[in-house]
């Protein structure tokens, strides 16, 4: 277990270092989420309900995650690096955990900017929305990283990733919106937590088959 965690740490640290040097994912995510919120600000009629605004927040979060995920395996794809990682004797699921952890860090950083911006453009952000976003992030990055690895192997990867990811993100949007605005927020938060656990386990167990021929 300690060795497994050491592998995850080494792989996640590598992804964070790569981003720090190349800066081609996080700035794009930040710019995208801010632009989207600005566009939504002008699209939404004046005096529109805060419920509608919360819905748009979730649209912005899902598409920002999708943008980041489309670059998740860029270095591995362009430099054939996935072969190098797959050949290593470490458990291959550690590649997924490391990558998902790095993606989670990027998404959280984007949201640290996006949530105050949302509060500025629309309405205030309450604790239960922040909690729902945190729960949703885990699910988005778990499923998204697995699907990004699958799409990487395909020539039509730019098309394939949204086609696979968006249907699987629907329960997250349902749970996220419900946990943000519903009177039964705990029930929707439970749905998000259940989604996180089930899909994280599925992705963890199936990653090896995705990266090997």
């Amino acid at each position: 277990m300690i060795r497994y965690l050491a592998d995850v740490r080494a792989l996640a640290r590598k992804d964070l270092t790569l981003e720090l040097r190349a800066r081609d994912t996080l700035p794009a995510m930040l710019l995208f989420v801010l632009s989207t919120l600005v566009v939504f600000h002008f699209v939404l009629p004046a005096h529109a309900s805060s419920l509608a605004a919360k819905g748009l927040l979730w649209v912005a979060i899902v598409f920002t995650a999708l943008l980041g995920l489309s670059r998740a395996f860029a270095a591995e794809r362009e430099q054939g690096m996935i072969d190098g990682l797959v050949l290593a004797p470490s458990d291959r699921s550690a590649i997924w955990v490391g990558k998902a952890t790095a993606m989670l860090a990027f998404l959280v950083l984007a949201e640290i900017v996006a949530l105050p911006a949302f509060a500025l453009f629309f309405s205030g952000i309450d604790a239960r929305t922040v909690g729902a976003v945190a729960l949703a992030d885990v699910g988005l990055c778990s499923v998204g990283t697995l699907l990004a690895a699958m799409a990487t192997a395909s020539r039509a990867r730019e098309l394939l990733l949204p086609l696979l990811f968006l249907p699987l993100a629907i329960p997250i949007v349902v749970g996220g919106v419900g946990a943000s605005v519903s009177a039964h927020a705990a029930k929707y938060a439970g749905l998000l937590a259940l989604y996180d656990v089930v899909f994280a386990l599925l992705a963890w167990a199936s990653f090896e088959y995705v990266v090997t021929e």
Binding site: Q79, G80, T212
Partner: protein, 194 residues
Amino acid sequence: MIRARGLEKRYGESRGLRGVDFELLRNGFLVVTGPNGSGKTTLLRLCVGLAAPTSGELAVEVERGRIGYLGHEPLVYRELTALENLDLYGRLYRVPERRERIGMLLERFDLWDARHARVGAYSRGMLQRLALCRTFLHDPALIVLDEPYDGLDDAGASLLDRELADRRIDAAFLVATHEPERLDPHTTARLSLA
């Protein structure tokens, strides 16, 4: 160490490798030759576990962590330095005395002075030397090399010759090359793919 019978690999309708039989003994040095498209790279990828055969038998009696593989790509991150790349592999392969070993290999392959430079700034020859460092880092028992002299100048090729001679006793080699004569001093068997 490796035994293959009727090994075949298909990619859709096209055949990447046709019915190959061979055996690589412990401490053997098998050189694979053949024209472009004959399946040399496919054969090597099958042997290291990066691809699965479509039909035939393949037994590789060495665990994944004891295989050193040099492919067409150097398998290093361009945004990281040579030290950072080798450190990542050293951790994943659980190399004992990792830093000392990385330092020794970088010196041996004449990359010590460029150890802090990002690999993206390396020349083709330097990349190949770094890829060789990565391949030998964990002291593999089975060394699989695909065109190892590609991109190397005379000095780099001499470094590789010396490394092969040093490791000849302790490891088995499977090498695909267009220059089989260069490996004649080590070769114990040849496999020619049509």
